[in-house]
Symmetry: C2
Subunit: 155 residues, 2 copies
């Protein structure tokens, strides 16, 4: 068993579910995250190991104002959806979403087996996230975040 | 062939060699990096896909003042060396090095086949790197970096 600064993801706690309000939360499907960056004590970016079951989604399609994001497919395949359409990403392929680029993105698992990927996101104050397909915004207010409708009212 | 924001690492340019002055540069051995984060247009952190040949090193043993680092082993095995000693990391294991933690770390490939891993590092101004085993410091000065001896004189 490795000791810090090394971590065996098999021993890291699993987190299921999403912070989204319904009806969005259920759409994520069978999604398990392990917060590997946190397990190593990192604070400047997060790294999650995600197992996404058939029918699951990485997130609602979204983009961030301040957060750079990167994903690397470890096992299986996912469909990447952006403004430009859809493309299949197989094991060993990656994608990156620069902060402020107004191109909503997410992964959907349309295959019949789980997909595994790493997701990395910078942690920078004042980040907001926008969702082109859904009545949702995530806004930083004070030290927390607010899930809001597109008219600004809270969920 | 994927299009942005997706990238196929097979199509990303290879970078060999190191910015270290000799005699350190040669110690890195057969090391190939592909800058996947840059290929995706990311600026807030870097993500490199590294192939490290037998006998190669990820870096000299070092730690950063401002940069969080994370590594995830994709293929093969590496030896992680820190102040706490050595441990073998096999495929699927990871490690993370919080900024400012004064624990020099690097990977050495002591196996007889190439190892592949992802390395992630935040890009934050004012970062310095220190090397407990070698007569080297990397210091930010102005918009660049300086490779210096431990007495502060430049290489």
């Amino acid at each position: 068993m490795p000791k810090l600064p090394a971590v065996d993801p098999d021993a890291a706690p699993e987190r299921r579910g999403s912070g989204y309000p319904e009806p969005f939360k259920s759409r994520m499907g069978d999604r398990i995250k392990k917060r590997l960056g946190d397990a190593c004590g990192l604070t400047k970016f997060g790294v999650n190991l995600v197992t996404l079951g058939p029918g699951g989604q990485s997130a609602l399609r979204h983009w961030h104002t301040q957060e750079d994001e990167f994903v690397y497919v470890l096992e299986g395949e996912v469909v990447l959806v952006t403004n430009g359409g859809e493309q299949v990403l197989t094991t060993g392929m990656c994608a990156g979403y620069p902060a402020g680029k107004e191109d909503g993105h997410h992964f959907v698992n349309r295959s019949n087996r789980p997909a595994k990927y790493l997701e990395v996101g910078s942690r920078i104050e004042g980040d907001n996230a926008f969702y082109p397909d859904d009545d949702l915004m995530i806004l930083e207010r004070g030290k927390g975040i607010v899930y809001a409708h597109k008219d600004g009212t809270k969920y």
